[in-house]
């Protein structure tokens, strides 16, 4: 069987698998496709494997329907607590304004917002400077590998961002690199085309560039207000520190202000937590759309 015919069968199998999982989490689909594609290629390239027929390899690996079942069973029975997928909260509908103080997710969102700013700078610097350099040099043939390297680096950045989102915000994101289908016998030109045609790489580039303005925004809306809210709650400690750092500050929040500053601080902090939770929820949806590979 020719290589292209074999590749067609593999791609048809992967499409069938993606179809069988289509109603489920995109990150789960990406993991299942990655595992399956790698296994099938490993089996084909295995010199000790006497069965070089792709149909037999697929038969031994499992039908798309079976494989989908394996992933779904494990995801639904075991994965919730340990791997970041949250069980729907029964209290979600009965939560009141103050219960956010006990919500770990909101605090994690605050940490994510804090990290978004420096990460945004890092991503932006790499995306723009390395991107522009590689695009400009790719005009000349020698620069083409630089462009491919740059686009491949986006996969690592988006994997890192995905892991951070899963750990801090609890949304299921890919746990492995998305797989650009490349065969060992592909020419360099074909490899470049395969990389450049990946829609997800380009959406990752856009995401990484947008992470800076988003990072600045969430820093201003989430981190700064929560910092001031906490400062308001502890004015007797903060006030002398503030004056020690800058004696010319005209604001004098003595202990007499405490009955006013504490409630303002608490309400401000609760409000910020609500805002943080809402904004990080939006961010997760955006990240998922931009970073998770959609099967063709």
């Amino acid at each position: 069987m020719s290589n292209s015919k074999t590749e067609q069968i593999i791609q048809a199998y992967l499409s069938e698998l993606a179809q069988a999982l289509s109603q489920h989490d995109k990150a789960l689909i990406q993991d299942a496709l990655f595992d399956s594609e790698n296994h099938l290629h490993e089996a084909l390239n295995d010199l000790e494997n006497p069965d070089k027929s792709i149909n037999l390899i697929i038969k031994n690996y499992g039908s798309a329907e079976n494989i989908a079942q394996y992933y779904l069973e494990l995801e639904s029975t075991e994965n919730f607590a340990m791997c970041g997928k949250n069980l729907p909260s029964q209290e979600a509908n009965t939560q009141h304004f103050y219960s956010i103080l006990k919500n770990v997710q909101a605090y994690r969102g605050l940490v994510f917002s804090l990290l978004s700013f420096p990460l945004g700078i890092l991503y932006f610097a790499w995306t723009i400077f390395a991107g522009i350099t590689s695009v400009v040099t790719s005009v000349f043939v020698v620069g083409t590998p630089l462009l491919v390297l740059y686009l491949k680096s986006m996969q690592y950045f988006s994997l890192f961002e995905g892991r951070l989102i899963e750990v801090l915000l609890g949304e299921r994101m890919p746990r492995r690199l998305s797989n650009v289908t490349t065969q060992s016998k592909q020419s360099f030109k074909q490899m470049i085309i395969a990389v450049v045609q990946q829609r997800r790489i380009w959406t990752s580039v856009i995401y990484m560039a947008l992470k800076l303005p988003i990072g600045v925004m969430v820093f201003i809306t989430n981190v700064v207000p929560s910092f001031f809210a906490i400062a308001f709650m502890f004015t007797p400690i903060i006030d002398p520190i503030m004056h020690a750092i800058n004696p010319s500050v005209n604001l004098d929040l003595t202990i007499y202000w405490l009955p006013l500053t504490v409630p303002v601080g608490i309400i401000g902090f609760i409000g910020t937590l609500h805002l943080t939770k809402w904004l990080t929820g939006l961010h997760v949806r955006f990240a998922k759309y931009m970073l998770v590979h959609l099967p063709n």
Binding site: D35, H39, N60, S63, N66, I67, L74, E78
Partner: protein, 134 residues
């Protein structure tokens, strides 16, 4: 087809269904233990296909069944994983057992031995109450 034939046909189907059900339950309960043990005995980290191949002749499960289990165990910290490039194709994810995995495996083996001995005992001996049932 007479009634007796239909009865035999129906009961065979039911038996097969029940056999399949038990096989599935046993397999989902033991696959993590088996995979953890393979990685514990391995001298070097192994990647998915290597593990699938080593189980080829001893497991009735499809080769693809191990991947979600490996991924799940890695997410729980029982395995450590490392992505390395391969000469012949896409990068490979190598797994090795973590210290947590080793501790868990020890406990799992103890539970498995207890279960095995209990099941063996109960299927080889008639329960004492059964003698009195007439």
């Amino acid at each position: 087809m007479n009634n007796a034939d239909i009865d035999v046909f129906v009961s065979k189907e039911s038996v097969e269904l029940q056999v399949k059900k038990l096989k599935k339950e046993l397999s989902s309960g033991t696959s993590a233990l088996v995979l953890l043990n393979i990685l514990n005995n391995a001298e070097e980290p192994l990647y998915g296909y290597q593990i699938a191949k080593s189980l080829e002749h001893v497991s009735s499960e499809k080769q693809g069944a191990i991947y979600p289990v490996l991924r799940n165990m890695a997410a729980k910290g029982l395995l450590e994983s490392n992505m390395l490039p391969s000469e012949s194709g896409p990068p490979r994810k190598y797994f090795n057992i973590s210290p947590l995995g080793q501790a868990v495996l020890k406990e799992w083996i103890a539970i498995w031995e207890q279960t095995q001995s209990f099941v063996n005992q109960s299927i080889s001996n008639k329960p004492s109450g059964a003698k009195n049932v007439k």
